[in-house]
């Protein structure tokens, strides 16, 4: 285990320069590019130049960029991401207010992509070169070309507007939201804890369309990899041995082949998560989901520098942690890997 701890520490240390590079990049882009946060905040109202300068001074954006940069880094090390320009509240609390919504969506998006991706990939591999294999492969390739926001809108048209099976947008129905109190920020968890069947159903229904939208592209990617990996594994000697022993085909496929086929797929999980966060921007926008990604888009429009920087650093840290966790988990899944 000593090896793993050392490896984890090394990786954590490597994350720091990566975060620093990203942060510096965003910090500079925000300040070098046109777009005045004070003007954006005042929203075109006619304000005297003196008052504008006063605001600039109060927000601390009138000082030289290097001074701002060093101060900002110092603040971040202390866990202070500054106050949002538009709400004047600490960015950290704004982020933590919205993060559970994104995490909930990401979790169910991943769940959908796994079930659908592994399922179709497995099916195609077992029935290789039969019609079902071709259908699945066309679906896999097609899913790469699917614009997420469009898929979300189409699902809304079909399943919300025309059929009325699911709500169009948001996390919870208006009437139920009136009495609903969220303690953790994870609505489904809160609903289950409340034990009220109607609330659980409502929250769950709100989750379906966004999760399918977010998970769809990933499902294609996973399915493709599962199929390729399964085909390779099904050719392996130990699968032939398992068959020769007279084991049932189902057991050979699920227990001997699939488990080994999944090993290379786990490695892309970290990358997958980065793509998922990118998809969350569009999914949250389409479904009016009050998460961190739509918060970021709104902050960009408002030129809310501290909020933009905070959200980006937060997302980057989150992805780094996931990547690290995946690498560590890898050594447990595949005992041959040693760090």
């Amino acid at each position: 285990m000593g090896g793993i701890t050392r490896y984890a520490l090394q990786r954590l240390l490597l994350t720091i320069p990566m975060l620093l590079i990203l942060l510096t990049l965003v910090f500079l882009i925000l300040r070098v590019m046109p777009g005045d946060p004070v003007a954006a905040m005042l929203g075109g109202r006619n304000v005297s130049p003196q008052l504008m300068d006063e605001y600039r001074h109060k927000m601390g954006v009138d000082r030289p960029i290097p001074v701002q940069y060093i101060e900002y880094l110092g603040d971040i090390v202390r866990g202070d991401f500054g106050d949002s320009f538009s709400t004047s509240k600490p960015v950290v609390s704004e982020i933590f207010l919205r993060f559970p919504a994104t995490l909930e969506l990401a979790f169910f998006g991943l769940l959908f992509s796994w079930i659908f991706g592994f399922g179709t990939g497995l099916l195609a591999a077992v029935r290789v070169d039969r019609p079902i294999d071709h259908v699945v492969r066309i679906f896999h390739i097609g899913s790469f070309a699917m614009p997420l926001f469009w898929l979300g809108l189409m699902l809304q048209v079909i399943f919300a507007v025309k059929l009325g099976w699911f709500p169009v947008a948001t996390r919870i129905g208006g009437r139920i939201a009136f009495t609903f109190q969220s303690k953790t920020g994870f609505y489904l968890l809160d609903a289950i804890l409340s034990g009220n069947g109607k609330v659980i159903l409502d929250v769950a229904k709100h989750l379906v369309l966004p999760s399918v939208t977010l998970g769809f592209a990933q499902a294609g990617l996973l399915g493709r990899m599962t199929r390729a990996s399964m085909l390779e594994v099904l050719d392996a000697d130990y699968v032939t041995t398992a068959r020769a022993k007279g084991l049932k085909e189902r057991i050979v496929v699920l227990r001997h082949a699939l488990r080994n086929a999944l090993i290379p797929i786990v490695t892309v999980f970290g990358l997958q998560f980065a793509i998922l966060m990118g998809g969350a921007v569009l999914t949250e926008t389409v479904f009016s989901w009050p998460g961190i990604a739509s918060f970021l888009v709104r902050s960009i429009e408002a030129r809310d520098w501290p909020a933009i920087q905070g959200a980006i650093v937060f997302i980057a840290i989150f992805i780094s942690v996931i990547n690290l966790a995946v690498d560590i988990a890898y050594s447990f899944i595949d005992p041959r890997v040693r760090y």
Partner: protein
């Protein structure tokens, strides 16, 4: 006409495969090429209004928000504009930005990759770290931040999307260079006293072209989606101009009232074009890496 086109495609595929692998039946590649070429021709012609039945931008004496009919195959929008005319000419921004961004990132990324891989040492380590930092971050979010800061329009979109793809080319070329660097013919070139610049340009770079080709097709497919998403979020072309992403955003407002045609058709165009590039990528990957071709089980 159709036969002539297939003939031309056969010739292109033949050139691509250089007749070496005997892979003349590249259906995937051909289908992809047909789609992309058709879109290119359609978009160019539409700019001269040779293809569009109505003007895509001018308001007409037509019903508002009418569903598909004989006169308006794909319906009309809230400003009485013909949806069919708009989607035919709406690919201009996507195509220009996709090609521009991929050309930009390919040039910068590959050059950095060659240099970094060849020189090695501190430069290589710091460049790799920077590229990894950009690569590990969600590209969609980075593109949105960049385009919002650069301002809306074609140029800023090319810069933003191009920037995001630089690490992809950097990684691919750098990995290839590291492999090529160890070969004996590079050693021989060095021993003869060939300059570093010449080694990179004449001996290292050409070896990375195959990998770059395959990556760039997939990249184009992804760029089409990214551009559409940026336009959808309101960072694309200014309003009156037809654009798929923007038209979908516009259609979203009338979604609750059931005007499905406003979003359905632009979306199908995005899918078709992105799929075309994706298929070309598949085909090229099979060509340059025959091992990748599906194993018969």
């Amino acid at each position: 006409m159709a036969r002539g086109m297939i003939g031309v495609l056969d010739w292109i595929v033949d050139k691509l495969s250089r007749g070496k692998h005997g892979l003349r039946h590249q259906t995937v590649l051909k289908v992809g090429l047909v789609i992309v070429i058709a879109f290119l021709i359609m978009t160019v012609l539409a700019q001269y209004s040779w293809l569009t039945p109505y003007s895509p931008t001018k308001y007409r004496d037509a019903p508002r928000l009418e569903g598909p009919s004989i006169h308006h195959w794909m319906g009309t929008d809230q400003l009485k504009r013909d949806v069919f005319s708009r989607i035919i000419s709406g690919g201009k921004a996507s195509i220009i930005v996709a090609f521009g961004a991929v050309a930009l990132s390919m040039t910068i990324g590959s050059i950095l990759g060659w240099i970094s891989g060849f020189v090695g040492g501190f430069l290589d380590r710091s460049l790799s770290l920077t590229m990894d930092a950009i690569y590990s971050f969600p590209s969609m979010i980075l593109a949105i931040v960049l385009v919002a800061m650069f301002g809306a329009g074609l140029g800023p979109m090319i810069l933003a999307v191009g920037f995001v793809y630089i690490p992809t080319y950097f990684r691919v070329t750098r990995a290839e260079v590291l492999q090529v660097k160890e070969t004996t013919y590079i050693e021989a070139a060095r021993a003869v006293g060939v300059s570093s610049v010449r080694i990179v340009l004449r001996h290292v770079a050409p070896n990375t072209v195959n990998a770059i080709m395959a990556v760039s097709s997939f990249n184009l497919a992804d760029a089409i989606l990214t551009v559409a998403a940026l336009s959808f979020l309101g960072f694309g072309l200014p309003p009156p101009l037809p654009d798929w992403g923007y038209d979908i955003q516009n259609g979203q407002k009338f979604l609750q009232s059931g005007s499905w045609w406003l979003i359905t058709f632009p979306g199908l165009m995005i899918i078709a074009l992105s799929l075309g590039f994706g298929l070309i990528g598949e085909g090229i990957s099979d060509l340059v890496n025959p091992k990748r071709k599906r194993k018969k089980v």
